[in-house]
């Protein structure tokens, strides 16, 4: 078939007020998003949050109930998948079992009418370092190899956007780590926009320039890994990325660039720039690695008790109970000045105001925490 049927669109990928309903169930709720051309973008969220549905709408495999999708100036909302300059790496790879690796990779090129595919296919195979497997069938390859072939099969078409639907889910840990680095390298070499869907926050943080955290069909927060980790704007994001301690508190005053909040009779300081709500009821947040086992800091809680301890090599993880029976998580780096506490020891906690953030107090303290990591 002729090349001409594939639209020549290029530019940023824009989702404008996209919604998707299955009967009464809303999978994606009024979502708007701009993904800059050439970036590595991650859609992160627990299962059921709508990230895969969003991806499939970009691919054209689902039709949005409302809203538009465009690449650059071209509106692709109603285009069929085979008309879009977008390719997908499927979760289970979806390699054609009856075709050889060579035929799999050249499939897209042939459908676009390109006759001379040998050079392109060889390039793609070399990119994923599997040139020697060209004549095999998918059934003869290992999971990791199939995954790389799936990437090659998509990339060889030089799409405007490459979609990856949890492609590393079926691989074991070591292989996954390897592939994360591989994919990042490929993206930088080829310069295509990558949109990577995953529920693994470590994976998203490792690979992506920009992450959008999704929950129940909406985007909770979007930004770089550092932004999302150090300055979460919602409890869900705070709990979903890494671990987080959240303490209910009330704002007493906002002045001179800092806010003073009280909780259980204790006073804490937060820089105003790190308070993301106007409400006076807040959740005071601090990450476990920012807590120190001392009592001299601006923010501190005295007379706590160690209730659990786990040594995990790089650090020791403590569960510490405050005088009002709230359990906080503390990570102490395996470094000089190790406290080496035991269960039952009395301890004080302290941390710097710059490491605190304050979120709207009306949220569920446990939102985003302890979700099943399949």
């Amino acid at each position: 078939m002729a090349n001409s049927k594939v639209s020549q669109d290029t530019g940023d990928l824009r989702l404008n007020r996209i919604s998707k309903y299955y009967g009464d169930f809303c999978a994606v709720d009024d979502l708007s998003l701009t993904i800059p051309d050439g970036s590595f973008f991650a859609l992160l969220g627990p299962s059921g949050c709508g990230k895969t549905t969003t991806l499939r709408m970009i691919a054209g495999l689902e039709e949005p109930s409302q809203g538009t999708i465009s690449i650059g100036e071209t509106d692709i909302t109603t285009q069929k998948p085979y008309q879009r300059n977008v390719n997908t790496v499927f979760q289970n790879y979806a390699l054609f079992p009856h075709l050889t690796i060579f035929e799999n990779i050249s499939f897209g090129l042939r459908r676009r009418g390109i006759k001379d595919v040998k050079a392109e296919v060889e390039n793609a195979l070399n990119l994923v370092e599997l040139g020697h497997l060209a004549e095999r069938k998918p059934g003869q390859l290992s999971g990791g190899q199939q995954q790389r072939i799936a990437v090659a099969r998509a990339i060889v078409n030089r799409p405007e956007v490459l979609l990856l639907d949890e492609p590393l889910g079926a691989l074991d840990l070591k292989l996954r780590r390897q592939m994360q680095i591989e994919l990042k390298r490929i993206q930088m070499e080829v310069g295509i926009t990558f949109i990577h869907v995953t529920h693994d926050q470590e994976e998203a943080m490792t690979m992506a320039d920009t992450i959008a955290v999704m929950n129940q069909g909406k985007i909770e927060q979007m930004g770089s890994a550092t932004d999302l980790y150090e300055s979460p704007k919602t409890a869900f994001v705070a709990n979903f990325l890494g671990q987080c301690n959240l303490i209910k508190a009330k704002v007493q005053s906002r002045a001179a660039g800092k806010a003073v909040v009280t909780a259980k009779g204790l006073t804490f300081e937060v820089p105003l720039s790190r308070v993301s709500t106007d409400s006076d009821s807040v959740l005071l947040g601090v990450r476990p690695e920012k807590l120190r086992l001392d009592d001299k800091g601006v923010n501190s809680i005295k007379e706590c008790v160690v209730t659990d301890r786990s040594f995990v090599g790089t650090s020791t993880q403590y569960l510490v109970r405050t005088p009002w029976d709230l359990e906080l998580v503390v990570f102490e780096q395996n470094d000089e000045g190790l406290h080496d506490l035991r269960v039952g020891d009395k301890v004080s906690l302290e941390w710097d105001p710059e490491h605190t953030f304050a979120l709207d107090g009306a949220q569920d303290v446990n939102a985003g925490a302890d979700l099943d990591d399949e």
Partner: protein, 300 residues
């Protein structure tokens, strides 16, 4: 022609792969369904209509007039009660025998055949590559008076010299059992094969011995296969007439024989039609009761 719109789903999330709002499925269905309606539904309806017809006095053989004579059914049933009963009894016995023979066979292929599994499956089906008539006739000769079985039996002292096996109910039931064996074996095998062997190991881990495991785990899990196999055996067996014709005698006639003879020997279409429908209705009732009792939805 787009056979395959379905793969890019436009709605229905969880079960994707289906597309609506297209005329394609109707075009795909039309030829086959029209064939079935024309050559199955309409003939059946036509047969229903024939079943209430009557041959007018003095009219030529084979001409009938529609008189809605439902009495035909009663007459047909009454004068052929024996054959009816016999058909269901023979089919029932044959089904049970087939189950008894096929279950261990299927079990063995599913669990104890190792790398020979595919070969054994082929061997189960292979005999049926020979025409079933040839095989049935082979049985008449094997069980026949001159055949090896009778000769051997006669060697046994207390066996009567006038013993015979062909032209007996025994032969008819044996023939039915034999001919429908693969219909029983394959669904049983399919069902047994699906059982995860770890389920059986778990039963053993939970203190069940071999026989209890079989009784409480294997058998219930294989029920869909048992139901399918039983139906696939019983239904055709009840309507069969070839086995009765070749291996039986006039007193072993089944309802199929009667229907056949009413078409070809004594030309009496209304009776044949009435008998056919009574047969179908009985089968349907028995099947429905059976399925209700064993509670399986998916047969096919």
């Amino acid at each position: 022609m787009a056979f395959l719109h379905g793969a890019s789903s436009t709605h229905s999330g969880p079960k994707s792969g289906l597309k609506s709002r297209s005329i394609t499925p109707y075009l795909l269905l039309a030829p086959g369904l029209i064939w079935l309606v024309t050559f199955f539904i309409i003939p059946i309806l036509s047969l229903a209509s024939t079943s209430t017809m009557v041959r007018p006095e003095g009219a030529q053989v084979g001409t009938y007039v529609q008189e809605l004579r439902f009495q035909n059914y009663v007459d047909a049933f009454v004068s052929n009660q024996d054959q009816y009963l016999r058909s269901f009894v023979y089919a029932g016995i044959a089904t049970l025998l087939a189950l008894a023979i096929a279950y261990p066979l299927a079990y063995m292929i599913a669990f104890k055949s190792g790398k020979y599994r595919n070969i054994l499956l082929v061997l189960v089906v292979a005999p049926f590559f020979t025409s079933f008539l040839l095989r049935t006739i082979a049985w008449t000769q094997i069980l026949g008076d001159e055949g090896p079985v009778i000769s051997t039996l006669k060697l046994i002292p207390f066996v009567d010299d006038s013993i015979r096996l062909t032209a007996t109910p025994f032969a008819v039931v044996s023939g039915l059992t034999y001919n429908f064996l693969p219909f029983m074996t394959l669904p049983l095998y399919a069902s047994l094969e699906r059982i995860d062997p770890r389920t059986l190991e778990a039963a053993g881990d939970l203190y069940a011995n071999g026989f209890t495991t079989f009784r409480k785990v294997t058998v219930p899990l294989s029920m869909p296969g048992v139901v399918a196999g039983t139906l696939l055996t019983f239904i055709p067996a009840a309507g069969d007439y070839v086995n009765a014709a070749l291996l039986g005698n006039p007193s072993t006639k089944m309802i199929g024989n009667v229907i056949e003879s009413r078409f070809f020997a004594v030309v009496d279409y209304p009776t044949a039609a009435a008998l056919s429908f009574t047969l179908m209705a009985t089968i349907l009732i028995l099947v429905t009761l059976y399925i209700r009792k064993s509670g399986t939805d998916e047969l096919v």
